[in-house]
């Protein structure tokens, strides 16, 4: 399959070439992991400030409040609140989940799982990481400019995001940061797509690829197609703000023919809906694999899962209008978008049933990657089902812009993607860093996070159903929301719990990396995909000889196996009776 064989390049020797400007996909993956964990910490901190404000308005944030908001005595002021939820969303989506799942695991898994020595274009890979760093610097800098950071929500709708709504330079920096990150991710996508097509090991057809690679590959395709759409929207927004063009200004603000704020919504959601799948597809792929690995049986309907993911990828390009039902869209269009949206349920149900089919009667090993993956199955089920009410015009008109939406999208693209990232970290950590993370701490981490996030997001859907609007600063001043105050307090408690639940994870990371002496075995999970056929940690050239693939990635529990193992490597001929 491989179109050509990559040469083994000499081992990097200097500190700079090994750790900073590394061309090695595994080192770039590790760089992205730290980048993503930093992003999670920053975005998570912002979430804590948001939740604190919602349940204790006017009360200073404990301990750190005075550090962040000395002017107001530690209380989050209303304008900073808007910046907080804007930056929380932006950081979590673009600077935490994207670098973790796509940057880190895309880089780490694709070459190793398809039997390649590196990405097709290692230099572009490095450039992609450093552009992402540049973008993060621009975004963080925007927190410190006069009038503060962007405050128009992660969707940056005009006119909130034009000079009329956000006069400061923060919103401009936001748009530039997203544009630069878009270039970085597009470069990554070009690399991933080309690598999967041209560098699969001999014998590896598309359906012999692990589903992880399928998910990452489809994500890369969506990225390459739709990030430029966001890029165009962002560019026009920057032009409006800097050069005085009038794309998104309407009415009196514009002269000689008017612009239109709603156009930005179209452009944003043409990108924005696929973005949801950009985030979730890698997690779906990893979960499909991990469920099979630890149920010790072949992935149920693996081909159907891959095809279902592909059809979701295609359908995801046609449904963006369901975010815009309340913009006076023609009923003919809303119903078309509704029907197309509902169609996505069919492939979703197929692979969801396949997940359950994989678990059914498996000899399940409840390791940390496995419990996190089962957590994904649970929260994604809830998130998917609540999406039906938002995709339906009649119910969406009432639920639009309430906390129900916030709860729903956190279930799909925060909770399930976050649990998926953790599953991936626990699963590939030994191959990445050479040491096993502590299982006990990992399970503690899982249960606190899992209970916490369900408390938060289930609570959000309930207050939303009760009528609480999103982006509200102080729910206490509205009479009709008074009965929801205790529920809001409960959500905040659950959020703090979830925040505290990350401490065992950090302890686990630090103690394993810096204090644990014992090295991990080459194949600690007893799995047959290609990355487990090489030594731990992976040598810089990955494979001494390019492997020849002879069977699929999920060959478990074959009764004809005589090797004493219950699995076989992808490099072994399928054992037949």
């Amino acid at each position: 399959m491989a179109f050509y064989e990559q040469h083994i390049h000499p081992k990097p020797t200097t500190f700079l070439s090994k750790y900073i400007f590394s061309f090695d996909h595994k080192m770039i993956a590790r760089q992205f992991i730290w980048y993503g964990i930093l992003g999670l910490g920053l975005g998570g901190m912002m979430a804590m400030l948001i939740r604190w404000t919602l349940s204790n308005p006017g009360v200073p944030f404990p301990v750190l409040g005075n550090l962040f908001f000395p002017m107001s005595g530690g209380v989050v002021p209303p304008d900073s609140y808007a910046m907080l939820f804007t930056m929380h969303g932006t950081i979590m989506i673009f600077y935490a989940i994207t670098p973790l799942l796509i940057g880190a695991f895309g880089n780490f898994c694709i070459p190793l799982m398809i039997g390649a020595r590196d990405m097709a274009f290692p230099a572009m890979n490095m450039l992609s990481f450093w552009l992402a760093v540049l973008s993060a610097i621009i975004l963080v800098a925007s927190l410190f400019v006069p009038l503060g950071a962007a405050a128009s929500g992660w969707t940056a709708y005009p006119t909130l995001s034009t000079l009329i709504g956000s006069p400061g330079v923060g919103q401009t920096l936001w748009a530039i940061a997203i544009f630069v990150l878009g270039i970085s991710s597009t470069m990554g996508a070009i690399n991933y797509i080309t690598t999967v097509i041209t560098l699969r090991a001999p014998g590896m057809g598309y359906f012999d690829m692990p589903l992880t690679v399928w998910g990452l590959w489809l994500t890369a395709i969506l990225n390459a197609i739709f990030l430029p759409v966001l890029g165009a929207g962002g560019l026009l927004l920057v032009f409006d703000r800097v050069f005085g063009t009038q794309f998104f200004l309407a009415g009196a603000a514009a002269t000689n023919g008017t612009g239109d704020p709603v156009l930005f919504q179209h452009v944003f959601w043409i990108f924005g809906h696929p973005e949801v799948y950009i985030l979730i597809l890698p997690a779906w792929g990893m979960v499909s694999d991990i469920l099979s690995f630890f149920s010790r049986k072949p992935a149920f309907g693996a081909k159907a899962t891959a095809l279902a993911m592909t059809s979701i990828t295609i359908l995801s390009t046609l449904v963006y209008g369901h975010h815009m039902y309340t913009t006076q869209m023609s009923p003919l269009l809303t119903q078309t978008f509704m029907t197309l949206t509902m169609t996505i349920s069919i492939p979703s149900a197929i692979f969801f049933a396949n997940w359950l089919g994989t678990l059914w009667r498996g000899s399940i090993r409840f390791t940390s990657p496995m419990v996190f993956s089962m957590g994904v199955v649970f929260v994604f089920g809830l998130g998917g089902l609540t999406g039906l009410y938002l995709g339906t015009v009649t119910t969406d008109l009432y639920l639009h812009d309430t906390y129900f939406v916030v709860g729903h999208f956190h279930y799909t693209m925060a909770a399930s993607v976050l649990l998926g990232s953790f599953a991936a970290i626990y699963f590939w950590f030994p191959k990445m860093f050479g040491k096993m993370l502590c299982e006990k701490l990992a399970l503690t981490h899982f249960w606190i996070t899992f209970l916490g996030l369900n408390g938060v997001f289930m609570g959000m859907m309930m207050v939303g159903y009760g009528g609480m609007h999103r982006r509200i600063y102080n729910p206490f001043i509205y009479e009709y929301l008074e009965k929801l105050i205790p529920l809001n307090a409960l959500i905040t408690t659950a959020a703090l719990l979830m925040g505290i639940g990350q401490i065992p994870f950090l302890i686990n990371l630090v103690s394993t990396l810096f204090f644990k002496k014992e090295m991990a075995p080459d194949n600690p999970w007893e799995v047959g995909t290609l990355e487990w056929t090489i030594p731990t940690p992976a040598p810089h050239y990955n494979f001494k000889n390019i492997p020849v693939v002879k069977c699929g990635p999920h060959e478990f529990g074959n009764p004809n196996l005589t090797t004493g193992r219950d699995f076989q490597y992808q490099t072994e001929e399928l054992v037949k009776g």
């Binding site: 390049h9 597009t186 165009a232 794309f247 156009l263």
Partner: protein, 198 residues
């Protein structure tokens, strides 16, 4: 040092590498197409929602300078086809000639765009004067930004045209730089016909 090593690693020594580079180039062009497609979507959206076009108080633009730009870029694209042809024949003299006929008009195109903006300013048409000039300025800015990058990549062909022996790597460069340049010509033609002519 490291750079050298890796460059060595991805030396284009065979058909496989060539194919990989073309696949990557196709993805790049798909990405750029989506960028421009979004811009044109915006344009058509404004155009159909506006009761008259150009909007009230605006006049149709003089076609002289844009037509000059079109002539330059078509000339340049045709010469680049010629360059590609003579590259395959390894005809060094004609390669140099066609490359000069590619880069010359390319620079003239750049100049004509600068002249275009200047002529707008002279008649008091600024980016902030309404949605019509907003579109014209933004689209030409974004296109020219790509043209600048493309001219630098055309300069990459100069050392190739001076050599008599060519490697797979050279063939790759010629092929992919060509694709990028022709792509930008096509985008200009769409801008020319959809925004200036009709």
């Amino acid at each position: 040092m490291n750079t050298l090593e890796v460059k060595n690693n991805i030396q284009y020594s065979g058909e496989g590498e060539k194919l990989a580079a073309s696949i990557a180039m196709i993805v790049v062009l798909v990405s750029f197409s989506m960028l421009f497609a979004s811009l044109f979507l915006a344009y058509f959206y404004y155009r159909i929602t506006e009761p008259v076009w150009p909007p009230m108080g605006m006049e149709r633009l003089n076609l002289f300078v844009p037509t000059m730009s079109t002539t330059f870029i078509i000339l340049s694209s045709i010469s680049l086809f010629g360059f590609n042809h003579y590259f395959k024949e390894a005809n060094q003299l004609k390669m140099k000639l066609t490359l000069a006929l590619t880069i010359g008009p390319a620079l003239a195109f750049m100049g004509s765009q600068l002249f275009l903006w200047e002529s707008f300013k002279n008649i008091g048409l600024y980016a902030s004067s309404g949605i019509f000039p907003s579109i014209i300025y933004s689209f030409t800015w974004i296109h020219v930004a790509h043209i600048v990058a493309a001219i630098f990549s055309l300069l990459w062909l100069v050392p190739i045209s001076l050599k008599s022996e060519h490697t797979f790597k050279d063939e790759n460069v010629v092929l992919n730089v060509g694709k990028f340049w022709h792509f930008l010509s096509i985008i200009w033609l769409i801008i020319y016909f959809s925004i200036f002519v009709f």
